[in-house]
Amino acid sequence: MDALEIARWQFGITTVYHFMMVPLTIGLGLVVAVIQTAWHRTGNPAYLRMTKFWGKLFLINFIMGVATGIVQEFQFGMAWSEYSRFVGDVFGAPLALEALLAFFVESTFLGLWIFGWKQLKPAIHLACLWIAVIGSVFSAYFIIVANSWMQHPVGVEMVDGRPVMTDAWAVFTNNTALVAVPHTLFGALAVAGGFLLGIAWYHLWRRRHDGVDTVGADGKVIAGEAADIPGRDRDDHKVWLRSLRIGAVVAMISFAGTAITGDLQGKLMFEQQPMKMAAAEAACHDGTGFSVLSVGNLGSQSCDDIVALIEVPGILSYLAKGDFTTEVQGVNSLLPQYQEAYGTHLPDNPIYGERAGQEIDYLPVMEVTYWGFRMMIGFGGLAALAALVALWLTRKGTVPESPWLMRLAVFGILAPFGANAAGWIFTEMGRQPFVVAPNPDPNGIDQVFMFTAAAVSPGVTAGELLASLVALTSVYALLLVVEVKLLVRYIRGGVVSAMPELVHAPVDENEDATPGPGGSGNAKPADDVLAFAY
């Protein structure tokens, strides 16, 4: 492998990894904020427990997103210096604004939320969480604005061979971004929905399995208490049942959301990057049919080897244009157009290194785009369907006794993660061989595009890149094991693992009782132990 390939693997691995943590942070953050709001308004202790438990898992995951996010910002300059030089005038701004306007907000107010349970008035404490969560949404917006400019450059003109921003409004309201942002946010919520559903199912199952909850003659649950274990009371049953239902509803709504926004995105993509969509379909010839199953050697990158086994006529046209008859161009018609517009060979320019003068392959890796597209939709749809079934199965207040269903619910947590990863891999790999895809709109900007082969740092050696690939991948693998172990530990522990006050009765201490939502009623809060401590 040469420097370019190693740099691409590194960017792919670190980004997909980072985007395991990020959707859970965004989605779970929103859910916890809503739950804490419910506690604030009703004072219902079940909501406090839910806030504490899901909040704890949220934090265990949040920190991994923070830690891996720094790598993202640094590696543009480290590994992709030519890219950074080329796009800096327009691409740097959303990154800088993300840090200044979103990430500062997120990390500062989350610190206030974690440590401020007693120092802050309840309404302000709750507001801090909302501000942090809104910060994370803005964070997503700015990053997607940056990414969307790579998918569909707008608002610039070429000056001395580099795109220079001339219209910030166009950049920040890029239509590609405006549909990608809600698509991503719904994708994040889908992750949170599956997470709540799977974990709550486990706990409801556990309660039945241990004989705490039983089922009456009418099939309805009779919630019980386990006297020997703190916190395993009737409220605990409410915690899990409510969490499960919230999770299922969130999962279904967010699947609908991703489907609607994804459809809009697809229609844009057929215009903006027709080759990406043709590769997503392994569609060699022009036509209207959507391939349900194509066989043959996708990896050969040769259209002669591919046979569409099952095709539904009209669907591809619908995905592209909203009708059932328009012919959609396939790879065979698109290739000559790309070659004519952007050249058949890479220029003889030293920034292409050994690749200078090579023939350009405009067809993305079809195995990845074809299956990536289908895995995204498949995993997303499965999760939503499972959520619907889960709501039905739990209509009488608890889950079936089957351990297999429980395992399915727990492992089902992974499905929305898979959908997110597949979607990003599809859209990023589908953009190749460009790192900045050309904007084909006849009224759009001309000649603003960049081949990935030109983007890598010329001064950085393959050895350095390999060292960082190995180092980062090992660190990430190690930390993934640690994170999952910790999550599992806290999940198994249940609410009490996030609420020491359920175990250590506050009367044991010299200080006063735990404050309710009505405010810290302590006479001397300043002398109290820390509300939360590392």
Partner: protein
């Protein structure tokens, strides 16, 4: 004189100074986890002084990096790619440190805590050292060719200035952390921090003084020399105030030392942002490395509104958590209950 690039040069100097001021003490506190704290309770005292704020402090680094990318893309591209390996070390250090802060207290065994304590201490050390090396090298220069790419292989950046800059930020962070702990803790830790501060300040500030003076000798102007004199006075004042147990004032005086010192450095090198040691014609300056006026103008408007807001709410955070932390405040370790059985996946039926 180009107005907008100059403004952004100042803005980036402000962001780096803000980073060193704020994360300086939490990096130092991190290093002191193993050097200074004597038992688990003391370590938890240290951690909880920075617990609510360290993450917000670290965003100053991201903002400095992002702003450099947006305002001076060529500076960002050349500096970050030339310093590939040292920045990789910084990244790994910051990853471990961040995770360690959050995970250290999550399992109640000595071994678990000891491992994360080392992660915090070493992560803080290498992050401080790497950032210091990078900052020093952007002031003293790197072997860059006409395209701004490093010549001479993966270690071509290495020089005495890298070590000096690394030690400068490590030394400053340690002193700054001792001043911070004297201000933010109570009891034994507070008094020990103040004693250490008084004893160690003259030694630990030597590298940063060395870096500042080298820059002045290379590029100094009259007014930046004046700032150096003021910085020395501020350091002396910090030392004196700490001896008289005026902890708050000592902390502020040390902060003034930092602000004056970094101002003298950035002021001296202006308008060069990254000199080439191969040929001064390849130097990156505020004119040839900057973004367009349109982009800089847009960023200026946003920063003029955004940066004061950040400072305001971060200041509020420090106000909310203004209480001193002492051993008495540290709650018992929450002995984790594996209450609800651990065998879910092995139980049949």
């Amino acid at each position: 004189m180009e107005l907008l690039p100059t403004i952004w040069f100042i803005a980036i100097a402000v962001l780096w100074t803000g980073y060193l001021f704020l994360e300086g003490f939490d990096l130092g506190v991190g290093m002191l986890m193993r050097l200074f704290a004597r038992n688990n309770t003391e370590r938890r005292v240290l951690l909880n002084t920075v617990g609510p704020v360290w993450d917000g402090n670290e965003v100053w680094l991201l903002t400095a990096g992002g702003a450099t990318f947006a305002a001076f893309p060529l500076w960002y591209a050349s500096l970050f790619s030339a310093l590939y390996l040292p920045l990789l070390v910084v990244l790994v250090a910051l990853i471990f440190r961040a995770v360690a802060f959050e995970y250290r207290g999550k399992v109640d065994t000595d071994q678990w805590r000891a491992r994360w304590d080392w992660a915090i201490a070493l992560g803080s050390f290498f992050a401080a050292f790497g950032v210091g090396a990078a900052l020093a090298l952007t002031t003293t220069g790197l072997p860059l060719n006409a395209n701004g790419d490093r010549e001479g292989g993966p270690l071509a950046w290495f020089s005495g200035y890298a070590v000096l800059g690394g030690l400068a930020v490590v030394g400053f962070s340690l002193v700054h952390a001792l001043a911070f702990l004297a201000l933010k803790t109570d009891g034994e830790v507070r008094h020990r921090a103040r004693r250490w501060f008084v004893r160690l300040l003259p030694v630990l500030l030597l590298p940063i003084a060395g870096w500042t003076l080298s820059i002045q000798v290379l590029d100094g102007k009259l007014w930046t020399w004046a700032l150096v004199l003021l910085a020395v006075a501020a350091a002396a004042a910090a030392w004196n105030l700490a001896r008289r147990a005026a902890e708050g004032k000592a902390f502020l005086a040390l902060g003034a030392f930092l602000v004056l010192g970094t101002s003298s450095i950035f002021g001296a090198v202006f308008p060069v942002v990254l000199p080439s040691t191969l040929n001064s014609a390849f130097d990156l300056t505020i004119s040839n490395a900057s973004s367009s006026d349109y982009t800089l103008g847009l960023m200026s408007v946003v920063a003029a509104f955004g940066l004061p807001l950040v400072i305001a709410y971060q200041a509020w955070t420090y106000w909310v958590f203004r209480r001193r932390v002492s051993a008495a405040h540290i709650p018992e370790t929450h002995s984790f209950l594996p209450a609800i059985a651990a065998k879910a996946f092995t139980t049949k039926g």
